[in-house]
């Protein structure tokens, strides 16, 4: 763990990345503590509809057209957004990195087969594919996660394959072969750790994309009808956009801030993991 | 040795690179001159500052990376160290041309070789399109490229490494330079191609009346083509001598050790017996930037004494421009004897 400390230092010295990390922590804390910080049920109609933000201290972010507390919606929505973002990305990363690593390492026919499979998922515009999947499988948190994972993995698979292809040719990998290491050991111990920096960065950015995708699906009314999410809130506020724009704007800002925070963290990781910047 | 005033005369050149740990001196007070029609070799191991010296002559070091901090670079009554950028551009690639180790990266991959040379010819010599093409063909012929007319329309990737280096040389010759700086021109090439390119440079030198400053790490190449040799170590010149003298009677311990450590392909090994161990130079070159009080080689030198670590060795000059920087330099004539005593020649 000799490397962890200077790594954190490098990361912390990067001002935007530190700000991103703080914002992200705040969103996570908000989501975790949602029931304590606001109403336990974000669907409950707790006040007069169309309370503008700031007009009633009990509901600092105001209420929507049904009198539901927007703050409660934002906090509970954070749970859904982060949950969907993390699980979908984890699933995509697992599938994508596995397929990419196998294709890159073995090459030849296996590579061809896996890459054609990957392309299959990339021919259809990804968002349309997600919509189709959710519609066929009935909207629920589970199917949304599945749909997002299904359209996110190909990119990670391609990146992993490219990295593995180049690292596979390095001589220390050949030396590992000559030592008699098994393929699995070579992939996991020699190749993937050296491919980690770009993969880590791109995976962190995939979390942001997943959150956006979830919001977009919910906005189109394809969200899970039983959970409050930011996309659902934006979607619901759409009809009153002219008279009460804040109903859309409040969850919109929440999405913006979270995605931005993750992007900042991702870029911070990129810089901190770049060995060329390490010496500075 | 060729007589006459030197074409290029470097005095006290120092070049620094900017790093996060402050300026690092890559070249630390070098004197070097190249006479008309002469081939001077600058040899040393990686990191000794030989390439930096060559780049400093044309001030090719990007400004954000480093700069020449002291010294004069006299070329044709001008001082290249202080010359303004516009006048310098007229000299680069015109009266001083340069070729590099890797011709593949020095050529534009998207232009035919003919177009690249013709562009240089038109730029520097003001020829028209047709005249430039004819001149280009003549240049390709001059560097002994077979079927030059066909090659004009080929792209760099269609040529072999040796052919590409020939094209680079044609490009360098396009302006009839007075000085050719060749930075490891044959290091990336196979030995048979290396022999061809070295012979070509030699012939062209006569034909075009050029002088050559050859930068290389390969002492055998130096022996084949150079008239005079300067040996560099850790940013400083440690010895300079006419080539035959340097090989026959090296005076600096570093030069002696370096010459001893190259395997001689013609050594009599007595029928398949295991080879004698090569004399080694212990340790390694100090990383650039470590300030050295005395002699830079003292750490690795077999005959270093206290004085070597305390004071920079003075320059000991002898006839025909030979010089050595060492507190314990082998005597001029006895150099060969001393080396023989140490069993190194």
């Amino acid at each position: 763990m000799a490397e962890a400390d200077p790594f954190l230092k490098r990361f912390g010295r990067n001002r935007p990345a530190a700000i991103g990390a703080v914002l992200l922590l705040a969103v996570t804390a908000g989501g975790l503590l949602a029931p304590m910080l606001s109403a336990p049920d974000p669907w409950a109609m707790v006040a007069r509809p169309f309370l503008w933000p700031g007009s009633d201290p009990r509901f600092p972010l105001g209420t929507d057209m049904l009198g539901r507390d927007l703050l409660a919606g934002i906090l509970h929505g954070a749970r859904v957004s982060l949950l969907v973002g993390l699980i979908a990305t984890a699933a995509a990363a697992f599938v994508g990195i596995s397929i990419g690593a196998l294709a890159g390492y073995y090459g030849g026919r296996i590579d061809n087969l896996l890459m054609r499979l990957t392309e299959l998922f990339q021919i259809v515009p990804p968002f349309i594919l997600a919509v189709v999947l959710v519609v066929i499988l009935e909207p629920s948190v589970g199917t949304i996660i599945l749909a997002i994972a299904a359209i996110s993995w190909p990119q990670l698979a391609r990146l992993t394959r490219a990295e593995v292809l180049s690292i596979r040719e390095r001589e220390y990998v050949e030396a590992a072969v000559s030592v008699g290491m098994s393929d699995r050991r070579i992939i996991f111990r020699e190749i993937l750790p050296n491919a980690a920096p770009p993969l880590l960065v791109s995976t962190s950015l995939a979390v942001a994309t997943s959150i956006l995708l979830e919001s977009s699906l919910s906005f189109l009314g394809l969200g899970d009808p039983n959970v409050m999410s930011w996309g659902t809130m934006v979607g619901a506020g759409r009809e009153v956009l002219r008279s009460a724009w804040y109903v859309c704007a409040v969850p919109g800002v929440a999405i913006l801030v979270t995605v931005l925070a993750i992007n900042l963290v991702g870029e911070g990781l990129n810089d901190a993991l770049d060995p060329k910047r390490r010496r500075r | 040795m060729t007589g006459g005033d030197p074409i290029l005369d470097i005095r006290g050149l120092a070049t620094e690179f900017h790093t996060s740990r402050g300026p690092v001196r890559a070249v630390d007070g070098i004197d070097l001159s190249v006479g008309p029609g002469e081939t001077v070799a600058l040899v040393g191991e990686s990191g000794c500052g030989k390439t930096t010296t060559a780049f400093s002559v044309l001030r090719l070091i990007p400004r954000h990376r480093g700069r020449v901090v002291a010294g004069e670079i006299r070329f044709d009554r001008l001082d290249l160290a202080t010359l303004d950028e516009r006048s310098l551009r007229r000299i680069r690639g015109n009266r001083i041309a340069m070729i590099f180790q890797d011709p593949a990266s020095a050529l534009n991959p998207l232009m035919t070789v003919g177009a690249q040379i013709a562009e240089a010819v038109r730029l520097h010599r003001g020829l028209g399109r047709a005249a430039a093409r004819a001149e280009t063909e003549a240049l390709l012929r001059a560097v002994r490229i077979p079927e030059p007319r066909r090659r004009l329309d080929e792209f760099p990737h269609q040529l072999s490494g040796g052919m590409r280096q020939r094209v680079m040389i044609a490009l360098a010759l396009s302006c009839r330079p007075r000085l050719l700086i060749a930075d490891e021109p044959t290091t990336a090439l196979d030995v048979t191609v290396q022999a061809q390119i070295l012979a070509l440079i030699e012939e062209l030198k006569q034909e075009f009346g050029m002088s050559v400053l050859l930068i290389t790490h390969d002492l055998a190449v130096v022996a084949e083509v150079a008239d005079r040799v300067a040996v560099m170590y850790a940013g400083r010149k440690v010895e300079e001598a006419p080539v035959s003298r340097l090989f026959a009677a090296p005076r600096h311990p570093y030069t002696r050790a370096l010459l001893a450590s190259i395997p001689d392909p013609d050594a009599d090994t007595g029928g398949g017996a295991a080879a004698q161990p090569l004399p080694e130079i212990p340790g390694r070159v100090q990383p650039a930037g470590s300030r050295i009080e005395g002699c830079a080689f003292a750490e690795r030198c077999a005959i270093a004494a206290d004085i070597c670590r305390q004071a920079a060795p003075p320059e000991a000059l002898s006839g025909d421009g030979a010089a050595v920087f060492c507190h314990h330099a082998a005597p001029e004539d006895a150099g060969q004897i001393a080396a023989a005593v140490e069993g190194r020649l």
Binding site: A175 | S160, A199, D218, A226, P263
Partner: protein, 312 residues
């Protein structure tokens, strides 16, 4: 006795422009305790041959017997058992060590893979090996980027030695090093050979180096061996015109010697579409029309000397 015996080796690589005939019919043996040098210009197939001889690459055709055991056509799993006998040291000291591993881990790994010794035992062996190659045992805790090129090459040699191999493939192992460091590494390799009774396959484009270290030298041209002999003989009595040209091209550290005119003028033909018959005939100073027909085979020219040329 022969450590490795290869017969009829063929290896083609398929590219977008056609099949590169990297190795096209090679028979060669590596004897117990010898250093076999392989020389030739870039693209002659010497690295491929090295990889075939050490089982790192499977041949398309032909047989590679290592201590009498056939390696060609074996599964990767079966090969893993033979692998410890043959190790490699590569050219590039910067890409031959895993940058994210300490030197100690890199050296332990071979022992761990083959479950040799207890953990304490292994650490002791790593320390001893580091010392043997001229590094401090403390080097085990450091990362590759903390070492110079020569030191990394010492580490690579230590790694190759961990499994007590019989044969080490040195693929341009000293080509990236400075002359003074190159001498250190060549001497280290020679010491290791004496001490552990190793054999080397030593591949290099630098004839002076090969001539220094090898007992026997094989000269390759476009995927075939054109001449093989002990190092003294190949230098003093080269029979193949290509060998002669190659030796004449080597620069000598003797200023003022009469310079021979370069013998070879054209470049290497494409290995995708090599000349018929003798592959050297397009550049050969003594070629005759008959050279285009049958390909010459290696023929014995006295003890320990074979040459593939009709006009040898």
């Amino acid at each position: 006795m022969n450590l490795v015996e290869a017969t009829g080796l063929v290896k083609h690589f398929h590219t977008g422009h056609g099949a590169v005939q990297a190795i096209d019919g090679v028979d060669i043996a590596v004897r117990e305790g010898e250093t076999l040098g392989i020389v030739g210009e870039s693209g002659c197939g010497k690295s491929t041959l090295g990889r075939l001889l050490t089982g790192l690459l499977p041949p398309d055709r032909g047989s590679v017997r290592l201590l009498g055991e056939e390696c060609a056509g074996q599964s990767r799993r079966a090969l893993r058992r033979i692998r410890p006998l043959v190790q490699v040291v590569f050219q590039n000291p910067y890409s031959s060590l895993n940058p994210r591993r300490t030197v100690g881990r890199t050296l332990l790994e071979p022992l761990a893979v083959h479950r040799i010794g207890t953990p304490r035992d292994r650490a002791a062996r790593v320390a001893a090996m580091l010392e043997r190659v001229g590094l401090s045992p403390a080097a085990a805790a450091r990362y590759p980027h903390e070492f110079s090129g020569g030191q990394r090459q010492r580490i690579a040699i230590a790694r190759a030695m961990m499994l007590e191999p019989r044969l080490i493939l040195c693929d341009e192992a000293v080509s990236a090093l400075d002359v003074s460091v190159q001498a250190q590494i060549l001497n280290l390799l020679a010491e290791m050979k004496r001490e552990f009774g190793l054999s080397y396959v030593f591949i290099s484009h630098d004839l002076s180096v090969v001539r220094h270290i090898a007992d026997r030298i094989a000269v390759m041209y476009l995927g075939r061996i054109v001449e093989v002999a002990d190092r003294q003989r190949i230098w003093s009595e080269p029979r193949h015109p290509y060998t002669r040209a190659l030796i004449a091209s080597v620069p000598r550290p003797r200023p003022g010697r009469p310079k021979p005119a370069p013998v070879l003028h054209d470049d290497l033909p494409s290995p995708i579409d090599p000349p018929s018959g003798c592959r050297f005939r397009t550049r050969c100073p003594v070629a005759t029309p008959s050279c285009a027909g049958q390909a010459p085979v290696l023929e014995k020219m006295g003890a320990d000397h074979a040459c593939a040329c009709f006009h040898a």
